[in-house]
């Protein structure tokens, strides 16, 4: 057991933070979100610097280097990067050894059937579709998923009307039940990790705000009514962080990732509510960065059954068939 970053992990984190300082951040996220665009430049920079394949490159006999990839994804989420890094860095390596072309969008069969907005759907080169007994890896050529306008911080795409009868059986590669388990677990882990980075940034932003915003002759962060609620948020964020990192380290086992996602996605709602409440009216404006992270928290809660899906998975993993 050691909760400190070792030298290599420290170097990875510093390198990605340098890259993100140059290519990402809330201002860039706001600009891209306004037009529903994907950050191709950041995506390329992450590819060129070798981060996209970090889990495979540092893999050991036990499997992909989940923790190192998770640390990178957490940092990208903190920086508000408009890239599908979680799918690329955490989910894809667990599904197929051979690299999968990015950007990658993740969805369930049900998401396509309805169809509903899918994160990064309109910009993805590959769609990973989770079915009940199989995973489909579908190369997207152009236009299968059309852009959908969304307030929730990510570019979204939905299966276009013309493709409603999209034939999955012939559209790409199909993998069996093992891939279903791998995709479910790593996707759930990815959600927890992204939630951690995103909550962290939203909370830090709010902390800075309450320390300088004055009302009633004092900074609002000096009121106990505010302090206790922020302390409760901090507890939720820290616990989410260490649950997610531990689950990543252990190779995204079903029970651990379900616990991490159940806790983090529940915490995400609290952090959304409290950071907005404490930021007041300015918190809803585009000029104030909070929405870059806060709105995303609610989007993350929509995937893979959200909080109740993760809790159900946790009960099944822990107490088996009885659930």
């Amino acid at each position: 057991m050691n909760f400190e970053l070792h030298e290599e992990q420290q170097a990875i984190l510093e390198a990605i933070e340098r890259l993100l300082a140059q290519h990402a951040g809330p201002a860039r996220a706001i600009e891209l979100n306004r037009q529903g665009q994907y950050d191709d430049e950041l995506h390329r920079a992450l590819d060129d610097a070798g981060f996209s394949t970090i889990a495979t490159d540092l893999a050991t006999a036990d499997g992909p280097a989940g923790l190192e990839a998770a640390l990178a994804v957490e940092a990208i989420a903190r920086a508000g990067g408009v890239v599908a890094s979680a799918a690329q860095m955490l989910v894809a390596p667990a599904i197929r050894e051979l690299a999968i072309a990015g950007p990658i969008a993740l969805c369930t069969m049900d998401n396509l059937a309805k169809p509903v907005p899918v994160r990064f759907g309109a910009h993805a080169k590959t769609l990973l579709v989770l079915g009940s007994g199989e995973v489909h890896i579908i190369p997207l050529t152009a236009g299968e998923l059309e852009p959908v306008r969304s307030s929730f911080g990510y570019p979204m795409g939905r299966l276009a009307e013309a493709n409603r009868f999209f034939d999955l059986s012939t559209a790409g590669e199909c993998l069996g039940p093992q891939a279903v388990q791998a995709m479910t677990n790593w996707w759930r882990l990815a959600l927890a990790v992204e939630a951690v980075g995103t909550m962290d940034a939203a909370l830090q932003h709010t902390l800075a705000y309450v320390k300088q915003r004055r009302q009633f002759g004092r900074t609002i962060g000096s009121f106990q009514a505010i302090q206790h609620r922020l302390a409760l948020c901090a507890i939720q964020v820290e616990a989410s962080r260490w649950l997610a990192r531990e689950a990543a380290y252990h190779g995204a086992q079903a029970e651990a990732v379900a616990a991490a996602a159940a806790f983090a996605l529940h915490a995400a709602d609290l952090v959304f509510t409290e950071t907005h409440q404490m930021s007041g009216a300015i918190g809803f404006t585009c000029e104030f960065d909070l929405h870059v992270w806060s709105m995303r928290l609610l989007a993350l809660r929509q995937e893979l059954g959200g909080v109740s899906g993760a809790r159900r998975a946790l009960v099944e993993a822990r107490w088996g068939k009885r659930a």
Partner: protein
């Protein structure tokens, strides 16, 4: 950063479980229903801790100079988890090994170390903590119990309240005001007082928590030699803060809660309640909470293992650990329904043991204050 237990640690956990199976009597469940302060559990703890001491496990995390084995704090945390999981057969002695012994090591005189540490590591002495007073609960620095120095003695007058375990204790780790002119944090001292000193009277305060849970301790002209002073005179606040850094996560509440939850899930399954999505949701929520509390406690143990100074991570872990304990205590009532209304039923016992969690050893609100100032650096104004 890595999250593996060493092979030695994994084996140690197995050994402890095996030891518990051998040592716990058949009527242990009944015996432990009043918690670590109950009569039968207190009596049992003397035999049990002595057996642990013989195995070399009771104080294995202590330095070898004091009868320990220099083991990492991780090793001791395994012991804590396994003991709390079965209802803490060490009774109140978990406090001795967690923080009273270490406080004596840090601040004690040679004579105090010689007197107390061998008894603690042999598992044959019971302690209680004399902190809270009627006017000094969450605001501990408001304490008023006085110890007046007359020649080479202290004469103690005052009272303590909510004191657990004191009806069986041999010693009390007592916080007193030694400087009558002082207020708040200055002028407080720690005295290590034998409970059989004339002038000490203990009254039980009946409560809904369980038998022998709360007491009042009255001190009337209790005269003790100045040699019972721990650390420098008037410096007790530092001593107690040091001690509480260990105490606040000393009880592995999340481990006990996790075991209770496993039983609740089994009962829910037997009774066909897992068809109810709300029950499944509540069980999943509770399990995630146990895991979250565990991982935050591990973060604190890691800080200790690396010999770094305590941080506000202790408070984060403390709040989540007590939240978890409380939540699962209440969930037991929901799963068992009206059956839980019977005294000493499974749900009742677990609920009562959990219900004080957010109040004991520093109310949650005090922990949140500390998180706000030390972890979030929020202003006081």
């Amino acid at each position: 950063m890595e999250f593996d237990w060493s092979q030695d640690d994994i084996q140690h956990r197995r050994d402890i479980r095996e030891f518990l199976q051998q040592e716990l009597p058949a009527n242990w469940e009944e015996m432990s229903q009043h918690g670590p302060g109950g009569d039968s559990q207190a009596a049992f703890s003397r035999t049990f801790c002595n057996r642990m001491a013989q195995k070399g496990w009771l104080t294995q995390h202590w330095p070898s100079a004091y009868g320990g084995r220099d083991c990492e704090p991780w090793r001791h945390s395994i012991v804590g988890e396994e003991m709390w999981s079965v209802g803490e057969p060490r009774g109140s002695q978990y406090m001795n090994v967690n923080w009273i012994g270490p406080a004596i090591m840090t601040y004690g005189s040679a004579a105090q170390k010689q007197l107390h540490l061998p008894k603690i590591s042999a598992g044959q002495v019971l302690w209680c903590q004399g902190f809270s007073e009627p006017e000094a609960g969450s605001d501990l620095a408001a304490l008023r119990t006085r110890a007046e120095k007359i020649d080479d003695h202290y004469v103690i007058n005052g009272s303590k309240i909510w004191t657990s375990y004191c009806n069986h204790a041999d010693y009390i780790f007592l916080l007193v005001r030694t400087d009558p002119q002082s207020n708040r944090h200055r002028g407080i001292s720690v005295l290590l007082v034998p409970m059989d000193t004339p002038g000490i009277v203990v009254h039980e305060i009946p409560s809904v928590v369980g038998e022998r849970y709360f007491h009042e301790v009255f001190f009337t002209d209790v005269t003790v030699p100045t040699g019972v002073l721990l650390g420098a005179e008037h410096n007790g606040w530092e001593v107690v803060n040091h001690a509480l850094q260990f105490e606040r996560i000393g009880a592995a509440r999340y481990a006990r809660a996790a075991v209770t939850l496993d039983k609740l899930a089994a009962v829910a399954a037997e009774r066909g309640m897992l068809h109810d999505p709300i029950v499944v949701d509540r069980l999943g929520e509770a399990r995630a909470l146990c895991e979250a509390a565990r991982v935050l406690v591990y973060k604190v143990i890691d800080i200790r293992a690396q010999d770094r100074p305590p941080t506000a991570d202790t408070q984060l872990a403390r709040v989540l650990s007590t939240t978890c304990d409380n939540a699962i205590g209440r969930l037991a009532l929901e799963i068992f329904g009206p059956e839980s209304l019977e005294y000493a039923s499974f749900a009742d016992t677990n609920f009562r043991m959990a219900m004080t969690a957010g109040v004991a050893v520093g109310a949650t609100e005090v922990q949140l204050n500390l998180i706000a100032s030390r972890f979030l650096d929020l202003p006081k104004d």
